[in-house]
Structures are given as C-alpha cells and as structure tokens.
C-alpha cells in the first residue's frame, strides 16, 4: 500500500521558493497501477521523486508498506525519462547497477531479465551503440533486476517513435501482470495514461493539485486500445485536461 497524505513540495529556499506540488493525497493498493497526468512541468515529476525518496516534501507524508519514505528504498525502482543509463557503463553493468552499488542482489536476476527483454546479445555494448527502444529496455531491466514491489516511471517513453512506444507499453503491461508490482506512471500522454493506468489522476498547472480522478478498471489487456471504453476514458481525460 502506498499512502500519499497531504503532500506539498517546494523547490528552492527563502524568496526564491517555487511550489511544485500542493496538498496532494491519494492511496494505491498493492499490485495496482496509477497514472499521473498533467501539463508539462506541472510538478508531477517532483511528486514521483518524493515517492522514490530522492526529495523530501515540505509538509505531508508519504508511506510505503507502512513506513515513511525518507530515502531511496530497495524495493522501489525508478525509471527515468531517458532511461537514466550511464554512458560509460556497459549494458550489463547498467542493468546490474543496484547490485554494483549495494552488493547483495542476486546476479541471476539481471541476467534473466536481460534475456527476457532480448538484450542478452548486447550485454557488453555501451548505451551509445543501442537504439532508443533498446536503451529503454535496458532501463527496464535495471529497474526489474532488484525485483521491486513498486515501479515508479517518469515519462519513460518520451521521445520514442509511435511504434516503439506501443511495443514498450505492451511490454510494461506484460511485466506488470507477470511481476505483480505496483506501478506509478508519470506522463503527459493521454493514450499512455489510459492504456497503463487503472486509476488516472489529473493534475493542474504548477503547482500540481489534483483536478480529477478517473477510474479505468477495464484496462489490462493488450487489445484494450481497440475497446470503446479506452476511447471513452481518453475523451474524459481530454476534458479533464481542458484540451
């Protein structure tokens, strides 16, 4: 269970303080998925960083599994916009980053995930040698190498072409079913939110406040994109975002 309780996040100090997130509360049950959508730069990424323990809220509390989040947790993985790969490390080293840093995650995990994602023949390559889609898959392998119970994603599919984007959305859906982690996805893409979010929270312009919550219980299958409900959820989202 993830519990976000009246969280407000500020950046900077003194007179230069900028409010990024204002009084946001929500809950997410174990194994469920949630999409956070809002205009670019509204502060949703700050909220995600607070969830991952990289940033402390000014007021309010974030609890994961009954424990207040104060620093990065081992059971929470974060996937960044550009996959967050280190250019000077090989695919194998990047996928094993948590193991490299903490020393006590089983290596077989990363190997298994890399093989599953079709990356076992590029393990000794550097990120610069990979296509954009492959880089994202390495980022996913890195996140899954620690068998997380929560997967946080910050616009993980930004700047991908449509086809690769859909392929990786499908991959996320399959991995979610397979691994059973809770998933929080930050996006500004309506279609992505409707495809991957069981619940979708819509944010206002900065500072981010919740302006609407849309339930999307029928998501979860690969052919959901052809479902009329999918189209309906997308129009609801468009309306909520005042597009």
């Amino acid at each position: 269970m993830i519990n976000v309780d009246a969280v407000t996040i500020d950046h900077g100090q003194g007179e230069q303080t900028v409010r990024a997130v204002e009084n946001v509360s929500f809950r997410l049950e174990k194994g469920k998925s949630l999409a956070l959508i809002g205009p670019s730069g509204c502060g949703k990424t700050s909220l995600l960083f607070a969830l991952s323990g990289l940033l402390a809220p000014r007021t309010g509390k974030i609890m994961i599994e009954g424990e207040e989040v104060k620093r990065p947790r081992r059971d929470v993985a974060l996937i960044l916009q550009n996959a967050g790969l280190l250019p000077w490390k090989t695919v194998w080293q990047n996928a094993n980053l948590s193991l490299l840093l903490n020393g006590d995650f089983p290596q077989q995990n990363a190997a298994k995930v890399l093989a599953h994602l079709g990356l076992d023949n590029v393990m000794s390559r550097f990120p610069a040698e990979l296509s954009e889609g492959m880089k994202r898959r390495v980022g996913i392998a890195r996140a899954l190498s620690t068998s997380p119970s929560v997967l946080l994603m910050d616009e993980p599919l930004a700047s991908l072409d449509t086809l690769t984007r859909e392929k990786i959305q499908d991959l996320f859906l399959n991995l979610w079913h397979e691994h059973g982690f809770s998933m929080i996805l930050v996006t500004h893409n309506i279609e992505e939110a409707a495809f991957l979010g069981q619940r979708i929270i819509v944010f206002t312009e900065r500072p981010a406040r919740i302006s609407a919550t849309i339930d999307n219980p029928q998501m979860g299958s690969l052919d959901y994109r052809d479902d009329p409900t999918f189209q309906r959820v997308m129009s609801q989202l468009r309306e909520a975002l005042e597009v």
């Binding site: 990065p72 081992r74 967050g84 980053l97 390559r125 550097f126 954009e132």
Partner: protein, 254 residues
C-alpha cells in the same frame, strides 16, 4: 597505417620549412646561426648516450609531475565542482592565484628546495595543477543531473556518486586538458632545468650548447619535441582505454 603516413608527411614538411629557414637565417646574417634539421639529427645520433641520459631525467620529472598534479588537482577540482560550499570558499583563492605566473616563484623554489629535481618537478606540477583543477571543476559542474539521480535512486552513497558518475563523466575532459597542457609543462621544465647550473635534463643540455654548438643544442630541442610527442600519444592511448565508451561506433543496433 594512414596515421603513420600522415605523421611522416607532416614531419617531412616541418623539416623542409626548417631547412629553408636555416638557409635564409644563415644567409642574412652571413654566419651559421641556425643549424638545419640534418645537422641536428646527425648530432642526435652522435650524442645518443648523453641525450638519452638527459632525456630520461626530463621524462621522469614530467611523468612524476603529471601523476602528482592528477592525484591532487583532479579530486579537488571534482569536489569544488560538486560541493557549492567548498566552491564558494576555494574558487576565489583559485582565481586569485591562477593568473600569477608560476615561473615567478622559481628562484624562491630553488632557495627552499635546492637546485635538484624537486624544484623542477614542483615547477611543472604547479603549471599542470591549475589546468587540471579548472577543467575538473568545469566538467563536474556540467554533468547531466539525470545520471546523478539515476544512481541515487538505485541507493548510491555520496562516495559512490563520485566513483560511478562524477569521475567517469569528467575524465575525458580532464585528460584532454592534460594533453593540451603537456606543452606548457615542457616549457616550465625547460625553464627550471636551464636555471639550475650543471644540472641534468634536456633543458640544461640545450642551454649548455646553445652559444657555441648550436647543432648539438638543436639535437636537444629535437629530443624535447620527441618527449612531448611521446607523452601526448601516451595520454591519448590512456584516454582511449579508460574512456572507451566515447569511441564506440554510434551506429544504433536494432
């Protein structure tokens, strides 16, 4: 192979210009002031043993100075680049002392450290120190924060952020500035070596012969050029090994 060929062609061109300059200078002054490249090269062969001794003396001073300046300026520069409080305190000191020509300290160094190798190594270290410090600071300041966030979210400690992100991300820029600074280091070494009477090193060799045996002095200059070139190639090779990721083919695999 192609690289070696271009080297050969450029050296031939250099010798040609040198020979022309030698003919012109000597004709104008009506005295053999500037020896040509072949006079100098034949002196390199004739004085091989003496040159080798002095070459070795200069080479180890330079290498030692490179190692000391890397070991001190690199960590300090990276720290200043990443820790704002440290930057606020130390940057003013750096920018006040940076423009002081370190050569101005040479007599003082001779007084304190004597006329042996210590002064010469310190002199070159001082020159390289600032170059490396400033480039390490700049490189560390400009690192894409996504890399830092990436390792922090995976549970990295502060030390691990330096080890896995700040250092490898800054290394190419630091090594490039080191490569560029080798010329400066050699100039400082030359000055230090010529100031110490009866010392070893290519600087004192050149100095000793410049007035009466210019062909030998120019053999020393050739040796100094070779030393610079070898160090340049050495740093280049080290960069290609340590920063292999910068040189991979950027042709995305499917």
């Amino acid at each position: 192979m192609k690289r070696i060929l271009t080297y050969v062609i450029s050296i031939a061109a250099l010798f040609f210009v040198w020979e022309m300059a030698s003919i012109a200078v000597n004709a104008i002054n009506q005295a053999p002031l500037l020896p040509g490249p072949f006079d100098a090269l034949s002196q390199v062969v004739k004085n091989a043993a003496e040159l080798q001794r002095n070459f070795a003396a200069s080479a180890w001073r330079l290498i030692l100075a490179i190692l000391i300046s890397l070991a001190t300026a690199m960590p300090l520069g990276l720290l200043i680049g990443r820790e704002p409080t440290l930057d606020r305190f130390l940057s003013p000191i750096i920018y006040i002392t940076y423009p002081i020509p370190q050569v101005a300290l040479i007599l003082f160094l001779f007084l304190v450290l004597g006329t042996g190798s210590a002064t010469k190594v310190v002199m070159v270290t001082l020159a390289l120190f600032y170059q490396i410090l400033v480039s390490a600071r700049g490189a560390a300041k400009n690192i894409d924060e996504e890399y830092v966030t990436s390792v922090l979210s995976a549970g990295a400690t502060r030390w691990q952020v330096y080890r896995h992100v700040i250092l490898p991300a800054s290394l190419p820029q630091i090594l490039t500035s080191l490569r560029v600074s080798i010329g400066l280091g050699i100039a400082f070494l030359y000055i230090a070596e010529t100031r110490a009477a009866l010392g070893t090193g290519l600087g004192s060799f050149i100095n000793k012969y410049m007035l009466f045996r210019r062909d030998k002095a120019f053999a020393g200059i050739v040796a100094m050029a070779i030393l610079g070139l070898l160090l340049y190639i050495g740093v280049d090779l080290i960069e290609r090994i340590l920063c292999r990721w910068k040189y991979v083919k950027r042709r995305p695999l499917k």
